[in-house]
Every structure is written in structure tokens, then in C-alpha cells.
Symmetry: C2
Subunit: 324 residues, 2 copies
């Protein structure tokens, strides 16, 4: 019989997590003043501010254990939070994790989860500074990530102005396509399935955007249309997207063709890739990794809204979690 967290007990489990954390690599040097094991952690906040974000992942809703490995879940939980830090133009520094586990969860699952957490935290330069482990009926993962603005202004979603170039960095639609593939009972194309299991946000693109003069910046987590609409509303502009300019993943395109679907369904409506959406002043040289996909305009009579190729989009713009 595989050992479960119920066999191990909470205190031994926490000790195990702390021990694994000690060997972690990739975090910025000197950021952890006090690490796991006390009432709270102490992290460096060098510029006198801390950027902070939190996200919750629920088993059966944000991941399935038969579709994603424990390591995948750890990677994804960290990635979506660090992407939010990057989307402010900040550099990740640290994170804390709340983990609710059924007692029958295998200790090996927790080990794998933690390996994924530490690998992705290290890729983003962040340290795992603390956490909490409790008993529950399903797995709930709650990550809070922190970051450092390095004396720059935070780049909000509200800063786009009429005339700005709208640009993206990172994949669009691949995670949604991977989820669609899994939902139909397939395990390939692997590139799409992996995009669902383990988003790979380019965290440094957030800092490059900030340094490159981005006026607005945000994480695309609920689909390009819905998130672009959020930027439009926050900024008081209209945004027109040129569908032909959106980078189209080749595997996504061929899979959409095989399913007889318009690839734009995934590209415009699919979330979870954690691309960055930015607005740069017209005529800016875009930072490495960014592609121009549209233009911010003065809002018309219908107010701040998103159009695609000048027309109201036909694709379902994202989805709401509580509605069935």
C-alpha cells in the first residue's frame, strides 16, 4: 500500500515539505529573510512595495488527477500566479501555498506536486516561503505570489490610450485546445495537451514590457476577447483586433481543421495560456516576444468594447465559473 498523508500525519507532512523546500534552486538570492517553519515568513521587498496576487485551483474544476500529473498541477498553480506578477511589470520574488488534501492522498502525489511547484517557482526566480496544509474532501491549491517592481511603476490594465498598439507575448488558445483534446478522450497532440497541463508563461516579458514603455499590461487567463474587453473597459478605449495578425500555433491550426472548428474559437475564447496583453504607444519598437495584434481606438457610441476585424466577435468570449 502506498503511504498516504493520513498515515504520515500533518506535522510530518509539513516537515517533509519544509525539507524539500530547503534544496530548491532558482530563487533570487537574499530574498528569503525567514523561510518556512515559523509563524510567518519574511521576504525582501527591496523597493518598499510588494506586488501580491492569489489564485485557487480546485480538483475536478481546474485540474483532474487523471489528466494532469501531480507535478503538472504544481507547475500550473505556480505559473498562473507568477503570470499575474509579471502582468504588473514585476519580477517574482516568493510565494506561499495553502494545500487542502484528502487524508487518502498519496504522499507521492504531494512530493510530485511540490517538485512541480519548486521547478516552476525556480523558473520564475521565486522562493517558496511558507504555507499551510489542511484536511479536506478534495484537493484545493491556493497560491499567493509576491513580486518586486524594481523601482518601476506598476503597469495597470487601465493605461491604454486611443492610438496605442495592442500586442501579445506568448501562446493563445493552445491550453484550451489541449483541454478540448482531453475532453474528447485523446492524449495527443502532445503539444496542446502539455499546454493545458503546464502553461509556460514568459515571466520576463512582463519586465520587458514595462521597460519598453507599455502603458497597459495584463495576463490573458480567461480568453483574449474577454481579457481585451477588460483592458478596454478599464482604459476607456475600444480595441480592434486584427485576427490575421494573431500568432497561430501550427498544431492548434491543424487540430482545429481535424475537428472542423475555426481555430479562432480557441485563440479568441480560450484561456489558461497566460500570454501577456499589452498596449504600447503608437510607433514604439515592441519588446522581444511581443507581436502587434490590434489597435486601441476612441470608443464609439457603444462604449469601450472589443471588435475583431472591425466587427462584433462571434466567438463566446470566455466563460463564467459559477454559471452552468
Amino acid at each position: 500500500m502506498a503511504q498516504t498523508v493520513g498515515d504520515l500525519g500533518e506535522i510530518a507532512l509539513v516537515d517533509r515539505i519544509i525539507a524539500a523546500t530547503r534544496g530548491a534552486k532558482g530563487a533570487r538570492k537574499g530574498v528569503v529573510n525567514v523561510g518556512p517553519g515559523d509563524d510567518a515568513a519574511v521576504l525582501a521587498a527591496p523597493d518598499g512595495r510588494v506586488v501580491v496576487t492569489t489564485d485557487v485551483l480546485v480538483e475536478g474544476r481546474h485540474f483532474r488527477r487523471d489528466w494532469s500529473s501531480a507535478e503538472d498541477v504544481g507547475v500550473k498553480a505556480v505559473a498562473e500566479n507568477l503570470a499575474d506578477i509579471a502582468a504588473m511589470g514585476a519580477r517574482p520574488t516568493g510565494l506561499v501555498i495553502g494545500l487542502a488534501l484528502p487524508p487518502e492522498t498519496e504522499v507521492a502525489w504531494v512530493d510530485g506536486f511540490l517538485a512541480g511547484v519548486l521547478a516552476e517557482a525556480g523558473r520564475g526566480g521565486a522562493a517558496l516561503a511558507g504555507g499551510d496544509v489542511v484536511r479536506a474532501d478534495a484537493i484545493y491549491v491556493s497560491v499567493t505570489a509576491m513580486g518586486d517592481l524594481e523601482d518601476r511603476d506598476a503597469v495597470l490594465r487601465s493605461g491604454a490610450r486611443a492610438g496605442d498598439v495592442i500586442a501579445v507575448a506568448g501562446r493563445l488558445g493552445c491550453a484550451a485546445a489541449g483541454l478540448a483534446v482531453l475532453s474528447r478522450g485523446f492524449r495527443s497532440p502532445r503539444a496542446l495537451v502539455d499546454a493545458h497541463r503546464r502553461p509556460e508563461p514568459d515571466y520576463a516579458a512582463g519586465v520587458r514590457a514595462a521597460e519598453g514603455g507599455a502603458r497597459a499590461l495584463m495576463d490573458v487567463s480567461d480568453g483574449l476577447l474577454l481579457d481585451a474587453e477588460r483592458m478596454a473597459v478599464a482604459s476607456g478605449v475600444a480595441i480592434d483586433i486584427d485576427s490575421g495578425a494573431i500568432p497561430l500555433d501550427e498544431v492548434l491550426a491543424s487540430t482545429a481543421a481535424a475537428y472542423n472548428l475555426d481555430p479562432l474559437t480557441w485563440v479568441l475564447g480560450g484561456g489558461d495560456d497566460h500570454a501577456l496583453l499589452a498596449a504600447f504607444p503608437k510607433g514604439s519598437a515592441l519588446p522581444t516576444g511581443f507581436t502587434a495584434i490590434g489597435t486601441a481606438k476612441k470608443p464609439g457610441e457603444e462604449g469601450p468594447r472589443v471588435t475583431v476585424d472591425g466587427r462584433a466577435p462571434e466567438v463566446v468570449p470566455g466563460f463564467e465559473h459559477f454559471r452552468s
Copy 2:
């Protein structure tokens, strides 16, 4: 029919929470640079460090909706986190909350929860800076709190030295007694039930301890014996508690008598009051609110451990969450 979060939808629910947060009182001025509504929040971290802690509360395990009101749950979730900030000698600044809700949860419950969160955050001087709301099968509340050390050193649990005076600030055992009362189907004594529903940690006592020269400081969340043992192990000392010196709540004492129980069962073994446990150098004038209850000693052959009145304690020292 009462409106549910499923009726309202995620986006409207988040807007509602953000609107309620705007009217909140009590947070320190200037601490929120960027509040809820963007990818992440930006909080002031004036001394170049941030103290951070996280705790998860699960419905049915950490609270029951028939025993605690929505407001009680909000108060408790915030209180246990701000107590951890105080237990580092820091002053709370802000918090973020992850909330997993069944779609059939009434919007009125969320409103009440948020009122409790904002009231307790305000009592501690902290701002609600952001959060995440997701769908789930039970209510999960995940709070991450942040604090400011105001240029002081963090006071760890590892700093106690042989000869130190061990002291506590706050109630001990009342929350456990309240839970015992509720478990037996009673709703009174009200003072004990309220202590379970809404702990009232003295957050400022953490700062007073730090300024008063505390060498070790921690939150008592799993019971005095278990938490004192953690301090003993971290500090490499033995701790002897003088049971007669522990402040004994009168209602707790009379309720224990009515149940034919030794009140020390609750006082030594019961958690959730979030008292502060501290070690001060011998001869120190104890800060306001602290009472000496024991002494740190050189560990004997059995290593760092806790004794009560010089003997091994007979009471169950706390409990582990995963074991049945």
C-alpha cells in the same frame, strides 16, 4: 428564493466584493498602492521587507455554517492570519483572500463573510487588497496576510534561552471550551461559544512584545502544550509551565466544573484562541497584557520538552489534522 452566487455569476460577484472593499475602514493610510481589480495588488512594504503567512479554512472542518455565521467565518479567517503576523512582532498591512464557493451559496452569506473579513481586517489595521473566487463543492477560505516589521528584527520562535521568563498574552482554552459546548448541542455559555466563533487576538501585543525585548514569540494556535513544545524544540530549551500561574477564564472554569472536567484540558490542550506565547530575558518588565507562566531551562537528558509543574503533562497536547 434567496439569490445564490450561481445566479449572480463570478464576474458580478467579484465586482460586488470589490465595491464592498472600497468602503472599508481601519486599514493603515497609504498602504494600498494598487487595490483589487487588476492582475495583482501593490502594497507598501515600508521597511523593505514583507512578513507573509497563509491559512486555509475548510467548511465542516474549521467551521460549520450551523454553528458560525458568515460574519463569524470572515472574522476567524482573518484573525488567525493576522495573529501570525503579530507573532513575528509585525504590524498587519494587508491581505488577499481565495474563496471557493458552491454555486448554491447565498449571496447574503458572501456579503456577511465579507463584512466579517473587513471588520477584522480593520481592527488589525490591514487592507483587503485582492483575491480570487472559484466554484467548489464546499466553502474553502484561504487567507494570506502581510505585515510590516517597522525596522525591527522579526521575533522567531527559536530565540528562547535558558533562564528566560515564558509569558502569554490573551485567552487560553476558551475557543476549545466553546467548541466543546457546541459539540454537546449547547449554545451557551455565550462567552465561550463566541471565543470559538470569533477569536479576538490582541494584535498590538506582538509589537509590544518585540519592543519589550521578547527573544521568542509565537501564536498559540494548536494548544499551549504543543506550541510551547515547538518553541522549546526550535530554541533548544526545556520549558516548565507553572499551571497555577496561567490566567484561568472564570466562565471556562465554571463550565469545566459543570462538565466534571479539569479546566487544564482546555487551557493546555485547546487551540484557536490565538494567544501569544513569548520568552523574555529574566528580570524583564513584561509588556502590557503579558503574564509570566513559566521558565525556560537548560534541556535535560530527554532534550527540549515541556513540563507542567515539573512533571510530564497528562493532557493530550493538541491534535494532528490528518489523523483520525
